[in-house]
Amino acid sequence: MNAATGLDFASIPERIQTEVQRAIQRSIKGVEYFSTSGPTLGSTPKDVLHSRGTMSLYHYRPMSDEIYRVPVLIVMATTNRGYILDLVPGQSFIEFLLRRGYDVYMLDWSAPRPEEKSLRMEDYVLDFIPDCVRRVQADSGEQDVSVIGYCFGGVLSLLYGSIHKDGPMKNLICFTTPIDFREMKLLSNFSDRRYFDVDHLVDSVGNVPPEMILSSFEMLRPASRTVSQIQLWENIWNDEFVKSYRMFDRWATDTLPLAGEYFRTITKDLMWDNKLFNDSMSVGGRAAKLENIKVPILHAVAEHDHIVPYDAAKHLIAKIGSEDKEEVMLKGGHVSLVAGANAVKRLWPKLDSWLGKRST
């Protein structure tokens, strides 16, 4: 080490050699990147229990010799595909749950067809979720069902739970679920009622195009896509980095359109009037107050969530009527909370220890 400059001159040739090797690897792997497809995602063995339009209900095949009595129904966010929770073996939340002895079902979404533009919030909360819960009960032979909702899947689960207060939901787990939509500052500004004519949009396009949803999310961190592409080029010699990049990039850009009427309600009732937070939300004429939820609840939030900032999620636990309730804040962002190396170490074990003892 040179005391004056702080540079370790002895390591320079070695460093140059490494960088030259990486440059060569970048060229080779760069060609490979464009000529190959990414890893296969969502491959944990499953059966389609039911499919109706935009809705699909999967049952994952058990992976342990005995399972907990209470089955788990995962409700995915309507903006994205469920395979974020089932990336590849070893990085699959679903696989983790199966190996820990849970009986896992997932309510996943596909793009609503143009005729489904008239789907309303009622269809999601009073039809799709109850229908899936009934099918889980019939398939498992159990009356109790634990529900896990991710992001807006959490909002739908909260609405379902607050209306169906007499069951059969036994436990509720929400991941990064917003209830105070004023605190989603930028999205709130994008949909400012003075300038955003949601009626004109929905009446014009029917279903809200996925490009619009994706660009709204990307605008929250406008530099991040460019920087991530630079990082990909820097690390393209690293197979693990590339695999991870491809998994997350594919999922993030695989955004779903939203049914027009459903989007209209989200904008007016949640973004504009903040009804869930103000206890004035109703779905199909049925009051949906969070205080009606009395089942054990765990809310996992991410410290660096740029889509659902903590301020938008922090009042959930206080407003829930349950006695057995817990919020846990973990390091990570909106996606890394639930998927990837961060989640494997942090959220998944936490969830297992919380849910296991409430699943017998």
Binding site: M1, T5, G6, L7, D8, S11, R15, E19, P45, D47, V48, L49, H50, S51, R52, G53, H59, R61, P62, S64, D65, E66, I67, Y68, R69, D103, R113, P114, E115, S140, E142, K185, L186, N189, F190, D192, R194, Y195, F196, D197, H200, L201, S204, V205, M212, M219, L220, R221, P222, A223, S224, V227, I230, Q231, E234, S353, G356, K357, S359, T360
Partner: protein, 127 residues
Amino acid sequence: MTDKLNDPVAMWQKMMGEMEKGFNSFANEAMSSPEFSQAMNRAGGVAAGAQKQLGELMEKYLVAMNLASRQQVMGLAERLQSIEAQIGEMRSMLSQMAANSGISQGGAGAPRPPRTKRPPSENGERT
């Protein structure tokens, strides 16, 4: 060992990280103004209107060319999906019947494990 402070690659990565944070923060501030919302939604409203008109024009064009209209293709897709859903339900029913009659076939009809699992004991052992 290379000192991270003097490693040009580490310095470059740090600089990129700082630039990303700085730009995101700057852009977020700019995008939080009502003026931005107004401009963005004005452009979005025009785009939505144009998309609607283009859609109507395309429908007329397809009819003139004697090609299947979008509605007809969507109708076919819907029927196909309905058939797929019915096949799925039939498969599920057959699997259930096979399971009830004790026929082992793997997959959906395979016998399910017993629902007897208990949570891990306090000393950390898994049951």
